[in-house]
């Protein structure tokens, strides 16, 4: 595979560039590094980056644009680029050369590149869904999609594909899941960072994090086999709220458990980062520890906590397995939390992996659902950003 060989050679050149450039400037400065504008290692990095980056970019671009073509010319070109970069770096290496600035500019470029991946991903997602959503709305009225209250896809036409019951299920289940995970997670985080001994915290935190790593199918089966029947027998039936084994409540509760570490671990880190002097200030005024936490520490940690809650909410919205097994597949709008309902995400998955013709509205609706969900969560995030801006208490 010439590509991986080219890669290796480029990296080796970069490594060599680092060492040579470094040694060269030190020699030029007569061994007295104080005469250099930048530390020797910056000169080294400058050479390494100049050698590696252009060549790597070339290979990456080519890999995406022309995957099947003959790699040899590209490999040669890449090597030439690397050699040229190395040469330039060595040529420029001099005590007065602002290697740090050069390296930092390159690193900043890399940082920007990394951030743009998020944008590219979004663009990719939107475009890959927009197209098919367009097809969907050619075949199905948007009015019925957005305002229809019935979800019943059929084979061979006549489907009713109203999003409202799915949306309602999504909101209902997510809210219950958050109602479980946010208080538990937050209290756990507070306890770990404010009360617990280092020992307990060292054990409890990773243990709770295991909850995030248990495959969702385990939660799903737990919901289906244990929690569902329990809720039905001890709550729903005695209260006369129906006798459905799978329900919004089941899925919400179980999902809530899964989400605990999302809230607790992230919040714990953020709470822990609040400077001790703020706690001292509050304690010195005679607050109890809980008052200190509630009135001083939490407001200071708000942005991170909101981030954690949003992440948990995002997972709740995106979860399938627990909903399928815990809440059933019934698209329904109902206030009774002991009834089966379902979510948008579940239907995206099931319509995409189903038996319908892939050009049929029953399949294409998955894309419309995905895009709608995207827009809704976008709104949610904007609100969250606004809230954080408004209530953030910046310490120091």
């Amino acid at each position: 595979m010439p590509v991986s060989w080219t890669l290796l050679v480029v990296l080796a050149l970069a490594g060599a560039g680092y060492l040579v450039a470094r040694a060269r400037v030190v020699a030029m400065a007569g061994g007295d590094v104080r005469r250099l504008h930048s530390r020797p290692s910056y000169h080294g990095w400058n050479a390494a980056l100049l050698t590696a980056l252009p060549a790597l970019f070339l290979i990456a671009i080519w890999r995406f644009v022309q995957p099947a073509a003959n790699p040899t010319p590209v490999a040669i070109l890449a090597l030439v680029l690397a050699a040229a970069g190395l040469g330039l770096a060595l040529f420029r290496a001099a005590p007065g050369f602002r290697a740090r600035n050069a390296v930092e500019t390159m690193v900043k470029g890399l940082l920007i590149l990394c951030s743009s991946i998020a944008i590219l991903t979004t663009a990719g997602i939107v475009f890959s869904m927009l197209f098919e959503t367009g097809h969907f709305f050619q075949k199905y009225s948007w009015h019925e999609f957005f305002f229809g209250t019935t979800w019943s896809p059929r084979f061979g036409g006549g489907s009713q594909l109203g999003i409202l019951p799915l949306l309602w299920g999504t909101i209902y289940i997510s809210l219950i899941a958050l109602a479980v995970s946010v208080p538990i997670g937050l209290f756990a985080a507070i306890y770990m960072s404010e009360y617990a001994s280092a020992r307990l915290r060292g054990v409890a935190k990773p243990m709770i994090e295991v909850l995030a790593g248990i495959p969702t199918i385990v939660y799903g089966l737990f919901a289906l086999i244990t929690v569902g029947p329990m809720l039905r027998d001890y709550f729903a039936q005695p209260l006369g709220l129906g006798n459905s084994g799978s329900s919004v409540m089941t899925a919400g509760l179980v999902m809530g458990i899964m989400l605990i570490p999302f809230v607790s671990s992230l919040s714990d880190d953020i709470i822990n980062a609040v400077p001790q002097s703020l706690r001292d200030g509050a304690l010195g005024l005679g607050s109890t520890q809980s008052e200190t936490v509630r009135k001083v520490v939490l407001p200071a940690a708000l942005p991170g906590i909101v981030g954690a809650v949003l992440l948990a909410a995002s997972r709740a919205i995106g979860e399938t397995m627990i909903v399928v097994l815990g809440a059933g597949a019934a698209a329904r709008m109902d206030l009774n939390p002991f009834e089966a309902m379902t979510t948008i995400t579940v239907k995206i998955v099931s319509q995409l992996t189903g038996d319908n013709d892939f050009a049929a509205p029953e399949t294409l609706v998955a894309f419309a659902l995905g895009l709608t969900l995207f827009v809704i969560t976008l709104g949610l995030n904007i609100v969250a950003l606004y809230v954080v801006r408004k209530y953030r208490e910046q310490y120091e």
Binding site: A198, P275, Q276, S277, L278, R279, D280, G281, A282, L283, G284, L285, G286, S287, T288, Q289, E291, K295, V296, P299, A300, E393, Q394, Y395, E396
Partner: protein, 265 residues
């Protein structure tokens, strides 16, 4: 030993607000306070002086158990407030700290509005029956700390956006607003200009009428001006404790003497 000291200073037992007996503090291995015995009197300003790093802040923090929050610190000995051992297991440090307030060496305003910073204590202790009373407490405290004029138009701005000296005064106002019986002030005027300093000193003098105040200061002049009693610390030891006048005019320990005479300007 106890008796001896009492005799020596001819202090009436009832006047003692805080008494420390054989207090030792360690930070991990470091022995930061060694065997300190002292009686702090009610309705009196006591100054703690001594070179930087000698343990003044450490000892101050023992008096309202703020040392509890430092993991590696360990306190031994006995400290009583009104005769009750504050390190007793049954003592609630929260209640203790409400009675023994503190201004820290590094100003640490809450990342809240100036108003909320000052109103924090009164709110949690329920010192105001209504908003008007709270406003009044806030204003009075800020006036006392000589900050009112500078911030009265920006009470809703964050306390963290103040200048260094303003933050320091904010923290004083915040502590005063809680109306503690004993106020521990760790270099409360270090970032203040002479005028603000004199205003704060005036405040301390007013407070003395009802409460007792302990002030850590590096300024011998300030100690002489505001305090009635002075304690000189050196390398974790309480070297000398007595009437401020005596200490400054007639120190008995050579170390005190040399510290005081090293004074400049």
């Amino acid at each position: 030993m106890n008796d001896m000291r009492l005799l020596e200073r001819s202090v009436d037992q009832s006047e003692i607000k805080i008494a420390a007996r054989d207090v030792q503090v360690w930070y991990g291995e470091k022995h930061a306070i060694k065997d300190v015995n002292v009686d702090l009197l009610d309705k009196t300003v006591t100054a703690f002086i001594g070179p930087s790093g000698c343990g003044k802040s450490t000892f101050l923090r023992c008096l309202n158990r703020m040392n509890d929050t430092i993991d590696i610190s360990r306190v031994e000995g006995k400290i009583t407030l009104d005769g009750e051992d504050i390190y007793d297991r049954r003592v609630d440090p929260v209640q203790l700290r409400a009675r023994v307030g503190m201004v820290f060496q590094k100003p640490n305003p809450f990342p809240k509005s100036i108003y909320d910073n000052v109103a924090y204590g009164p709110r949690i202790h329920g010192l105001a029956r209504n908003r008007a009373e709270l406003d009044e407490i806030v204003e009075k405290s800020l006036r006392g700390a000589a900050l009112w004029n500078e911030v009265k138009d920006r009470l809703n701005d964050p306390g963290t956006g103040l200048s260094g000296g303003q933050q320091q005064r904010l923290c004083i106002a915040r502590a005063v607003a809680t109306q503690p019986e004993v106020l521990l002030m760790d270099e409360p005027c270090s970032a203040l200009d002479p005028i603000a300093t004199s205003q704060v000193e005036e405040l301390i003098d007013q407070l003395r009428a009802q409460f007792s105040v302990v002030i850590v200061t590096h300024s011998m002049q300030q100690a002489a001006r505001v305090s009635q009693k002075t304690a000189f610390f050196h390398l974790g030891n309480l070297v000398e404790y007595g009437n401020t006048d005596d200490i400054f005019t007639n120190p008995r320990d050579p170390r005190t003497e040399s510290y005081i005479s090293g004074r400049i300007g």
